[in-house]
Symmetry: C2
Subunit: 136 residues, 2 copies
């Protein structure tokens, strides 16, 4: 797996995580050798929330038919995780948005990357915050 | 309402919309004079999907208790819309991710901005795509 942006070891990344309300990771997963069906996606979302130390509130998954991809969102007390797949491109669009110092969105993303056996991952990490004093 | 980035009239934006699998708008809404409760958020999400010309598959909203904010996600055939609110900061973290040439994520965002009476909106628009030939 190639990560274009490895945010996990960046001092700037750590600064962002501790000062923002939340961290929102947008990830493009290419070369996915294991495209999930609805049940597999629900399992992946649940496991990603668990490993990301987030409290799962609800999961909803939808299948678009044989070979046509799935979509799923896990609503978390810490925000959400979403996955939308395009099996025809072996591609999944993922976002992991988590608030709170205890959450680990990178660990949640890794569960999704590993579960879909992505060969290449492009990551953009956004700091989510209000414009309050001390905020963004 | 002040928009830091008005993407609706940009030629580059139009190019992006027509060549990418999807457009993902990340928006920080500040100065929100109308923070929704669960029912109001469900209504806002439904209306945003409609005005954004998206097919609504499911809405799930969660309330964190009196004065403590709400979270909601609308799963769409075109991807999703999410809203997470912090009433203590009059702030809402929004994302609108829509695929397909017919969808209008900017129109969906405007419904949320208007509905929450945000006084200031910061927008980041991301192109979501695979690395297939012709993709990102």
């Amino acid at each position: 797996m190639a990560l274009d942006t490895d945010v996990s070891t960046s001092p700037e990344r750590h600064m962002k995580q501790t000062s923002a309300l939340g961290i929102h990771i947008i990830a493009e997963l290419d070369g996915c050798a294991a495209m999930p069906d609805k049940d597999a996606l629900a399992s992946l979302l649940s496991n990603a929330a668990l490993v990301g130390r987030a409290q799962l509130l609800n999961i909803h998954v939808h299948g678009f038919g044989d070979g046509a991809g799935v979509a799923g969102v896990a609503l978390l007390a810490e925000s959400h995780i979403s996955v939308h797949t395009w099996p025809e491109f072996q591609y999944a669009a993922v976002d992991v948005f988590m608030c709170g110092a205890a959450a680990n969105p990178e660990a949640a993303l890794k569960i999704l990357v590993t579960g879909m056996q992505a060969s290449h991952v492009r990551v953009e990490t956004l700091r989510r915050d209000s414009q309050r004093p001390g905020g963004a």
